[in-house]
């Protein structure tokens, strides 16, 4: 038996600096937590912010360098387990941004930093490590790395969901997450083992070559695709693998739910894009033929419709804002899957753009819930009555986020949806576009319910209407999200171009 030893070297680290920095930051933050005792554990916070900013700077530099040199088709690193290309660069920046704002906001959150919490430093350290793991998910080009990065993200998420150890809700959310996560990754793994058996390759391009050579039985391939898709749709919480999502988001501390609703989902999409696009579709006709053999478009289209419809309909009757946002995030996964139906580069680019927009608006909405929860200790819609007037600026920004989530022009959500719809309509999938449009109308109702409670409903007699004092950092972070949500609705071409480029520069 031969072991193909593709010996990596330390020079690979040149291309992997952001991730390496984050890994070291994690270790330092963990040790820093031990060194400084005290009520305010500022050391892990400061270390992780510094680490994220440094890693972000390097990621931007790498992106610029790649673009200038026009050679961002990718460097395979670590013995060809990973690839650093335009798409990886795009997701790196997305993840670092999402984690940075989450870490900043968590500093002001009672759920994370409250007096009774233990191990506050762990939250910051784990968020940093989660970022690194998600970045690897976007870079994996080998079944082994795909599995390891997904498991790394999963394991960190389980711990973060159970962060509030003293809260039964949090532990219970974590248990559900572990059980369903473990079983779905086992299902995916089974599919991967069969794929390895059919093709004899672990690398995506090796799998692709074996598939094109045409020795693979289409039915066996369909089974494998369904098994692997099951594991991945668990990660992005698509129907029918969504049941963990509302429970986990409700039970976990809200800042953790915020990063869960964005980070691992985007990473899951990155993984799906790279895996399915490079193995099944990338350009040549033979590959696209494979997709046709197993009727991929219909499979994904049905999943997409089921996901968005389920998410929106169940969100309608939620009374807890956090749970409602969880169902809304399921619905958004449904919209995102639309871009995945045809595996065309236009569709994939619109997924990337929508992920960017979704990150901004969804994080914003969750952070508003965090800010309000600090004062009200509640996420019930009935407690939100009149809250808009008690903190007008934050309330106004929440309206921006909700409007953008609905997809109303001129906000970023509208542009994102527009691109997704165009990608589908280009290929004459009219019914899919119509269902999605109807869904958007439904979603208007429950997003508006929140706005109505905040601003339009008259509070009951004796309700406390004193102004809420929000931490200045909360205003800064909310503005960091609200301003781009507005700006991207008007000046979107630059960023759409970036998404196009990221897909165009996806190396095999």
């Amino acid at each position: 038996m031969e072991l193909n030893l593709n010996i990596p070297s330390w020079s690979d680290l040149r291309f992997w600096l952001p991730e390496a920095i984050l890994c070291i930051t994690f270790l330092v933050a963990l040790l820093g937590d031990l060194v400084v005792r005290g009520r305010r554990t500022w050391v892990p916070f400061a270390v992780s912010v510094a680490g994220l900013i440094t890693a972000g700077a390097y990621a931007v530099a790498a992106m610029n360098h790649g673009l200038d040199a026009g050679q961002f088709q990718g460097h395979t690193i670590m013995g060809s387990l990973m690839i650093v290309d335009g798409m990886a660069g795009f997701f790196r920046l997305l993840f670092i941004f999402a984690s940075l704002v989450t870490v900043l906001f968590a500093w002001t959150s009672e759920e994370i930093m409250g007096k009774r919490r233990e191990n506050k430093g762990e939250f910051y350290a784990l968020t940093v490590l989660l970022t690194a793991a998600m970045m690897v998910m976007a870079e994996a080009r080998d079944l082994l790395m795909l599995f390891l990065s997904m498991e790394a993200v999963g394991l960190i998420s389980y711990v973060m969901a159970g962060y509030m150890r003293t809260s039964l809700r949090s532990s219970e959310a974590s248990l559900k997450y572990v059980l369903f996560g473990a079983v779905s990754s086992a299902i995916m793994l089974y599919g991967m083992s069969l794929l390895y058996g059919m093709t004899g390759a672990m690398e995506f391009d090796g799998i692709r070559n074996a598939l094109i050579s045409g020795t693979v039985d289409p039915f066996a391939l369909l089974v494998v695709v369904v098994l692997i898709l099951a594991g991945m749709s668990y990660k992005i919480a698509a129907v029918p693998f969504h049941y963990w999502c509302p429970d986990v988001y409700e039970g976990a501390p809200t800042p953790v739910s915020a990063i869960f609703s964005v980070g691992p989902k985007a990473a899951g999409f990155a993984l799906m894009i790279r895996f399915f696009y490079t193995t099944f579709a990338a350009g040549t006709d033979a590959g696209t033929q494979l997709v046709q053999d197993i009727n991929w478009p219909l499979l994904v289209a049905v999943m997409s419709v089921a996901t968005m419809t389920y998410g929106n309909l169940v969100a309608l009757r939620q009374t807890n804002v956090k749970r409602m946002l969880a169902y809304s995030s399921i619905a958004h996964v449904g919209y995102l899957l639309m871009g995945f139906v045809l595996l065309s580069s236009a569709g994939l680019a619109s997924i990337l753009f929508y992920l960017l927009v979704y990150t901004l608006m969804n994080l914003g909405a969750f952070f508003y819930v965090v800010a309000i929860n600090n004062h009200l200790k509640s996420e019930e819609l009935s407690d939100y009555v009149g809250i808009g007037f008690r903190a007008p600026w934050a309330g106004a920004m929440m309206v921006i986020f909700l409007a953008s989530l609905t997809g109303v022009p001129p906000f970023a959500g509208f542009v994102g949806k527009f691109y997704l719809f165009t990608a589908v309509l280009d290929k004459q999938w009219f019914w899919l576009a119509i269902v999605a449009a109807l869904n958007s109308v439904v979603s208007l109702y429950y997003y508006f319910k929140v706005v109505r409670a905040m601003f339009l409903s008259t509070p009951a007699e004796g309700t406390d209407m004193s102004p809420l004092k929000l931490h200045w950092l909360q205003y800064v972070v909310l503005a960091m999200l609200a301003i781009p949500t507005l700006a991207l609705g008007l000046f979107f071409e630059e960023f759409k171009g970036l998404a196009d480029m990221a897909i165009g520069m996806m190396g095999g």
């Binding site: 038996m1 031969e2 072991l3 193909n4 079944l143 082994l144 599995f147 390891l148 498991e151 999963g154 394991l155 389980y158 711990v159 159970g162 150890r165 039964l168 809700r169 532990s171 219970e172 959310a173 974590s174 248990l175 559900k176 572990v178 059980l179 473990a182 079983v183 086992a186 299902i187 793994l189 089974y190 991967m192 083992s193 069969l194 390895y196 058996g197 004899g200 390759a201 672990m202 509302p246 429970d247 409700e250 039970g251 939620q318 749970r323």
Partner: protein, 101 residues
């Protein structure tokens, strides 16, 4: 009788299905975790068998990694279970309904 690749695959499929059914049927969280471990083991068998079949070391590497990941998953799952058991004196998932709508 020669033991061929098919036999390994059938064995793995049987173990996988056993684990899957166990996960669905049983309500004790510890047993459910054990069923998942069973499923992961069946995957290991498939990888090892195909690794031999293709004369390629990749499958063996995967098996090693899978061991470690499965152990980490079990450790986290059990740690959470202990926490819940301390509070609720049960590990039956049907009793954990705090988060139901």
């Amino acid at each position: 009788m020669e033991i061929t690749l098919t036999h390994y695959l059938l064995l793995a499929a049987a173990i996988f299905v056993t684990g899957m059914v166990g996960f669905i049927v049983r309500r004790n969280a510890i047993v459910m975790l054990m069923c998942v471990e069973l499923m992961l083991s069946s995957v290991n068998i498939v990888f090892a068998a195909f690794s031999r079949f293709h004369l390629d070391g990749g499958g063996h590497v995967f098996v090693l990694m899978n061991f470690a990941v499965a152990a980490a998953e079990a450790a986290i799952g059990l740690a959470i279970l202990v926490e819940i058991f301390r509070r609720r004196r049960t590990v039956n998932v049907d009793d954990l309904k705090t988060l139901m709508e």
